[in-house]
Symmetry: C2
Subunit: 242 residues, 2 copies
């Protein structure tokens, strides 16, 4: 294919729209930037096309030469990107359900990225996110997880529906809250467990707390509240399958 | 005092320089923005002067009326601030040394802020930072900790000197690293312990690992590395004084 050099090119305009969640949802596509992230995506057969200027180090994948201004325009990084991958959404099926993480309205991309990394570190089987949780295909999340989003299935759905299904399948659903809750000593590890962490400001929503099998808190002496990614780290470590 | 309205006012220029670490170090002063943070600072008698426009809700503290453009200029927040406090450095003395956190070159203000909050949550006695750790009087750190920097003593010094002194005082110094290290099960809680966490990229530096009494790692099954604030959360929770 011929090198694309015009910022007005229809394809370029389409790719650029992938910075918007709406367009990602509609097309099932998203962008990853830089060599390392494209390599990660390639391992999971998630790359449809690699955009490059001059030379392309990737093989066995469709490529398209473009001009530097196009790469700069498509990059979310102020200093631009050498390569940009157009990827399709990894298919997310959660088969094993021994350890699950449920996220209720996490807003900060950094917190979401950190929680994804932590869930992988402790071999969790999958992550369910409420629909108002920050999009995990947001560039900031992808960058902060360094491509590990491909290593764990992540599904967005109504969390009450999700919890009801999990309970039917024998998964104990544990939601975190400071009030009327048990400590980690009091809630013993079970074969199948799911942990719900809540929004940075309001915590886990009331309906979800009502629907949970158990309410859990982290014992603290100080009066400071924990960052949600730190709370997640402590809980996921404590209840990991050894 | 008369209302200050000129952005060219010498005092305003001086205050504005407090956004720079150099100036904060030279003067011992720093800025806090907004009502909540000023209230926190007032509790610890750390406020020298409050800048306001129109009405000032604070009593028993010197105040100075300024114009809106001056508050906007001094604010690090794009939407400006209603009040700005000129504060002096809280005096940091770490007396009790049962549980200490040592930070070796943490760069990200968000990670530093989160670690400070976590240390307070688990009632740690103080934090020592290497001189190349991000300044805790950086506006982003102050904002992310919501003023809790006043609740725990924080000292910047050479960490090797610090560790040698702590060891003389009978504090067990435990540094985190994945290599040649023991798990949390293997290192039992002691009366006096200090935990060293390292830079986001390189981890704890070699000289510090050599100087430590014990090397500690968090058991993981996955291959993903943990964010330093998450690792800190897990360790500080595990070894907190109950």
């Amino acid at each position: 294919m011929e090198k694309i050099t015009s910022l007005e090119n229809a394809q370029v305009k389409k790719w650029n729209k992938l910075h918007q969640k709406k367009e990602r949802d509609a097309t099932g596509l998203f962008l990853v930037e830089g060599k390392h992230l494209i390599e990660e995506a390639l391992k999971y057969h998630a790359v449809e096309l690699v955009l490059y200027e001059n030379e392309c180090p990737f093989q066995n994948v469709p490529t398209q030469e473009v001009s530097k201004p196009i790469l700069d325009k498509l990059s979310s990084n102020p200093s631009g990107a050498e390569y940009i991958g157009i990827c399709h959404l990894p298919e997310s099926i959660i088969e094993k359900k021994e350890r699950l993480l449920l996220l209720d309205g996490i807003q900060d991309p950094g917190n979401l990225g950190t929680l994804i990394r932590t869930a992988i570190s402790f071999s969790f089987d999958g992550i369910y996110c409420s629909k108002d949780t920050c999009d995990y295909l947001n560039e900031k999340v992808i960058r902060s997880t360094q491509g590990s989003i491909f290593q764990i299935p992540i599904i967005y759905m109504d969390l009450i529906d999700c919890m009801n299904k999990l309970k039917e399948e024998g998964v104990q659903v544990v939601a975190t809250t400071l009030e009327h809750s048990k400590t980690m000593k009091e809630i013993l590890p079970q074969e199948k467990m799911a942990f719900v962490l809540g929004n940075e400001g309001r915590g886990v929503s009331k309906e979800i707390l009502k629907c949970a099998d158990e309410l859990l808190r982290i014992e603290m002496e100080g009066f400071e509240s924990l960052n949600v990614a730190v709370a997640g780290g402590i809980i996921l470590y404590h209840y990991r399958k050894a």
